[in-house]
Amino acid sequence: MHIKTFFTVICLSALLMNSGCLWTRVKVNDIEQTTKAREVKPNVTTSKELLKIMGQPPNSVIVLKNGRHVYVYNSSDTKTKGLNLLVLIISKTNSRSDSTYFLINNTGIVESVTSSQNGQLPWEWWAFGDN
């Protein structure tokens, strides 16, 4: 009798642990980079000053013609929501990346700054359909 009760409790506990909702969120890099980028003055700030303002080297550098290059700072946000029903898991992941581009001319001066607009990222779980 005690063994059966014990077995039932173990089974029910395992079932409960195996089911539920899931939420995960992953952020990569500083999402506030856009705010820092506002301190950069086009045609005044040098590439060395840019590194001080941003506080880190760029995530990547794109080399352009005529000695120009682009310093790229990236950040991303990823949200996953799901429904975990024992033998069935349905989940949806929404991910958004944002960039800030600093175009630097051949004399090492920042020529222009462009940033993508940070927006809201929804939590969604339904993995089917087109919306």
């Binding site: 940033s115 993508s116 607009q117």
Partner: protein, 153 residues
Amino acid sequence: MQKTLIFSCLAFVLVLGQGCVFNRTVANEQVRNLDTSFIRPGQTTAIEVLNRLGPPPPLPDIIDQQNKYFTDDFVRYACHETRRTEFRLTQILFLPFLWSDTQAIYETMITFDNKGVVKEVIKTQRKTIRPPFKNESSRPPLVCKQTTAKGTK
């Protein structure tokens, strides 16, 4: 006898734990409906495009590399989607049964000439399928719209 059956069923369910997984991942949906109506091929410059649309977003994983998004010759905005189906029998088999399809479902590519002026705007729309329930023949045809100084086709 009935209790044994119930316990057997519960044990079976536990063994199969997390059997079917359906996931959909959408990356960079913000570029899905980019308004490119302000672009005049032969007149608008690359800097004007970047200032208005913002820099192209990179993807958070290894689908594409940053240098495929912006060069002297083009800028590319892409929204990617992945549909994944997985059958996990982790307690029995360690090899997962996994099918996935990833596509750039909305893509806008703007090309520039030697002077950095817009040459053409190409908008492409694709659909993902959910394998193994759908195969390549289920994929709707690709939709492509090209705008140049001569017009749209």
